[in-house]
Amino acid sequence: MTETRDVLLTMKGLRIEGRADETWTEIVKGIDLTLHKGEVLGLIGESGAGKSTIGLAAMGFARDGCRISGGEITFDGIDLRAASEEDRRHLRGHRIAYVAQSAAASFNPAHRLIDQYAEAPVRHQVMSRAEAERDAVDLYRRMQLPNPDEIGFRYPHQVSGGQLQRAMTAMAMACRPDLIIFDEPTTALDVTTQIEVLAAIRDIVDQFDTAAIYITHDLAVVAQMADRIKVLLKGEEVEEADTRTMLTAPREAYTKSLWAVRSFARPEQAPVGGGTPVVSVRTVTAAYGSVDVLHDVSFDVHARRTVAVVGESGSGKSTTARVITGLLPPRRGEILFNGTALPPDYRKRSRDQLRQAQMIYQMADTALNPKLRIRDLIGRPAQMYLGLQGKRLDTRIRELLSLIELEPDDYIDRLPSELSGGQKQRIGIARALAAEPQFIICDEVTSALDQLVAEGILKLLDKLQGEFDLAYMFITHDLATVRAIADEVVVMKDGRVVEQGPKTQMFRPPHDPYTELLLSSVPEMDPDWLTGVLGKRRASG
C-alpha cells in the first residue's frame, strides 16, 4: 500500500515516433521508468538518446512532429495518454513543471519575470496574482537571487543567464508541483555560474521534497543531483542504478566508455626553447565603439604547439580571435606572423596571409552554408588558394575527407543538414585544412558536442597537428578540454590576461585567485563534490 502510494510516475514500454520526410521513425523504443515521490532520477545519454523526449512525455507532451505511439504513462494514478488534452493541460505547470535548457530563450522576452512567474498559479487558480507575487519574492530569495524584491520586475534580457536559470526554477516551483523535469538546466552556463545554479536547484528540490527528472549529458553534474541514474542510448535503456553504484561500478560497455571519456590527454611536450613563434599577439588593446574590451593582451603560439585561451563568456577570448583574424583591427598593438606584422584589417591582407591563418567555429550549424554541398564547402579553399581544378580538386577533396575520417564516396555530395553535429565539425576542420595553413584558431569547437564525439574531434585535431606541423589557438571555457589538448594556457578575465604559462604549471597550485575559482568549479565525478566545494567556499568566504 505504502509502496504504490509512494510511486509518482510510471512509464511502461513507452514508444515515441518522430516524423522525417513524411515517414515515422521510432526515436524512443520501449522505455520503462518508475519515479517515487521526492526522488530525483537522472537521465543521461548523448544527443539522440531520447532524454528530452522522454522527459516531455512525462508531462504527456510530444513536440511538434513527434507522437507517443505506444506504452503507458501514469502520473499519480492518472493515465496521461487517455486523459483529455484539457486535463493534461491542467497538470502542466501545476503538478508537473518544466525547466528548460536555455532560460534566456525560454523566458518570453515580452513580459517581466514576475508576470511569467504568476501566470501558471493564477491560470491554474492556485493563488491570486498578489499572492503569487509575494510568493515569487520568497522563492527568489530562497533561490539566492540578488535583489529578490525587485528582480521579478525586470525583463529577461536585463537578467544574467545564471540568474535567469534560477528564476526559471523558481517559476517551475510556483505551483509547488509534485514533479519537475529539468532538461539540461546548466548546459549553457559558465562553470562558475553552473555551480551556483546546481546548488540552488538542489536546495529547493530538497526543501519542497519535489520529485524530479534531471536530464543531462554531463555525468559529473548528474552525480551531484540524482538519487538514481538511467543511461540511455538511441532511445533504449542501457542500464539503471542508484548514483553511487553507477559511478563506481557501471555494468555495460557503453556506460564504461562514457566514464572513460575524460582520460584523453596528450603527452606533455618540452617547453619551446626559442625560435620565432608562428603567431605573436603583441600588447593588443581593442575596442568595440569607444569601450575597450581587450587590454594589453600578449601571447605567442609556436608551431606544433596548442595555446588554450580560457575564460568565461565576456572575458575577451573570442575578441582576441577577431583581432588576430583581422575582423577587428586593434586600437593598439599588433599581430606578428612568423615575425612579420600583419595588416590589422583582413581586407588589406594578401591572399596568402589569409590562407595561413584559418578558423574553426563553435557552431558548425552556422559555420557551414546550409545550401552548399560538402564538395563545394571544402573544395572552395583548395580551389581558391591552391588553384586546384577538376580531377585534381576532386582528388584533394577526397583526400581531405579521408583525413577527417569520413568515407569520401558517402559524404562528398551531402548537404550539411544531412550530417550529425560531430560530422559537421569535421567538415569545418577539413575546410580549414584545405587551405594548408600554418595556424588554426579553434573557437570552442567541442562545446556544442557530446563528450564522446568531442573526444573524437580533439584526437583528430591532435593527430593533424602532428601531421602538418600546425599551430593551434584553442578558445574554450572547458578546463577538461584544456587538460586534454593544451600545451600552454592563457587565462583571461574581463579582457585581461590574468595568468599564462605551460599547462603543467597551470594545473598545479599556487594559482591566481580567478584561476583557482575556475578550477574548483569544474564538477567532478563524485556525488559529494558539490557539497564539499560549497562547504569549503562557505568556510573561506
Binding site: 591572399r351 589569409l354 557551414l368 575546410r431
Partner: protein, 307 residues
C-alpha cells in the same frame, strides 16, 4: 434556395479543384524521378492544384495562337454578342471574340507581370544584398534613395513616370519594376542582414571571397525562402498596378488583349449584373491564388515547422 444552390456550386468547385490537384499530384509523383517524387509526395492538395493551374496558364500562354479560335484583334462580329457555339464566350465591346482575347490575354498579362516581377526582383534583391554585404556608404546611399522613392505614392509615381517616358509595354515594365524593386530591396536587405552575421559568411570573407561570390553563393541561396514568398504577393500586386494604370488610361494599350484592361473595358457591365468582366478578373484571381498556394507550400517547407 438561391443561396443553397450557390453553396452547392461552391463546394462542387472546391471538390473538383481538390480532385484535380490530387490527380495531378499522383501523375507528378509517377512521372518524376526519385528525388523529385519525394518532394511531390509532401505537397498539399492546394499546392498541387496551384501548380496544375500555373502549368495550364503557361501552356495556354505558349500555345495561344494554336488554342484561340480567332485572332487577338480581329473584329469577328457585332459588339456584345451572346455566348454561342461559334463565339463560346461571346464578343466584346468592339465585336472581338472574347475567348480568343482571354487566351491571348494569358500570354500578354502573365508575360508582362512575370517580366516585371522578375526584373523588380533581380534589381531589388541584387542591390539589397549588395547593401547588406558592403554596408557603409553604399548601404546608406541606396537605403536613403529607396526611402525617398517609397515616400512617393507608387501609383502616382508610376503615372508621372509613364507620362514622361510614354506608355509602351517596355516602359511600363521598367517603371513598375523600378517602383516595385524598392519594396524588394527593403526585404532583401533585411533578410541579408540576418545572414551576413552568420559564421559561414564571416568564414567566406576571411577566405578573401569577392563581394559577388559572397552574394550569389553564400547569401542568396539562404535568402530565397522569404524572397520567393514576396515574389508571390508582388506578382499579384503587379497585376493590380497594371490594371489600376489601365483604369487611369496608362496601362497596356489596346488592341493588345490583357486581362486588366479587359476588366476595365467591360467593368461597367457589372453594374447591370452581367458577368462578362468576371471572366478576366477571375483569370487573374485564379492565377494569384494558385501562385500563392505554391509559395505557401514552399515557405512552409523552408520554415521547417512540422505540423
Amino acid at each position: 434556395m438561391g443561396f443553397l444552390t450557390g453553396l452547392f456550386w461552391l463546394f462542387a468547385t472546391i471538390a473538383a479543384a481538390l480532385a484535380a490537384g490530387w490527380l495531378f499530384r499522383a501523375a507528378a509523383i509517377a512521372a518524376s524521378p526519385q528525388g523529385l517524387a519525394r518532394e511531390f509526395r509532401t505537397m498539399p492538395l492546394t499546392a498541387s492544384f496551384g501548380l496544375l493551374m500555373i502549368l495550364i496558364y503557361i501552356l495556354v500562354a505558349i500555345f495561344a495562337p494554336a488554342l484561340a479560335p480567332f485572332s487577338e484583334t480581329e473584329i469577328v462580329g457585332r459588339e456584345y454578342m451572346p455566348w454561342d457555339a461559334v463565339h463560346l464566350l461571346g464578343t466584346d465591346n468592339l465585336g472581338r471574340d472574347m475567348l480568343s482575347r482571354l487566351i491571348y490575354g494569358a500570354r500578354n498579362t502573365v508575360g508582362i507581370a512575370f517580366a516585371t516581377t522578375a526584373l523588380a526582383f533581380v534589381a531589388g534583391s541584387v542591390l539589397g544584398l549588395l547593401a547588406a554585404v558592403v554596408g557603409g556608404w553604399l548601404d546608406q546611399l541606396l537605403s536613403r534613395a529607396v526611402d525617398v522613392l517609397m515616400a512617393i505614392p507608387a501609383l502616382i509615381f508610376a503615372l508621372l513616370l509613364l507620362t514622361i517616358v510614354g506608355t509602351s509595354i517596355l516602359n511600363m515594365i521598367l517603371v513598375i519594376a523600378l517602383i516595385d524593386s524598392t519594396r524588394v530591396y527593403r526585404l532583401a536587405r533585411a533578410v541579408a542582414m540576418n545572414i551576413v552575421v552568420m559564421d559561414y559568411v564571416e568564414a567566406a570573407k576571411l577566405r578573401g571571397e569577392g563581394t559577388w561570390r559572397l552574394i550569389t553563393r553564400e547569401i542568396l541561396p539562404n535568402a530565397m525562402a522569404p524572397l520567393v514568398a514576396e515574389f508571390g504577393l508582388r506578382f499579384c500586386f503587379v497585376f493590380l498596378t497594371i490594371s489600376a494604370l489601365s483604369f487611369l488610361g496608362l496601362g497596356i494599350q489596346p488592341p493588345t488583349a490583357d486581362w486588366g484592361s479587359m476588366v476595365r473595358d467591360n467593368a461597367t457591365l457589372i453594374s447591370f449584373g452581367d458577368i462578362t468582366p468576371l471572366l478576366p478578373a477571375g483569370a487573374i484571381a485564379l492565377l494569384t491564388v494558385s501562385v500563392n498556394f505554391v509559395v505557401d507550400w514552399q515557405l512552409h517547407r523552408a520554415s521547417g515547422l512540422k505540423e
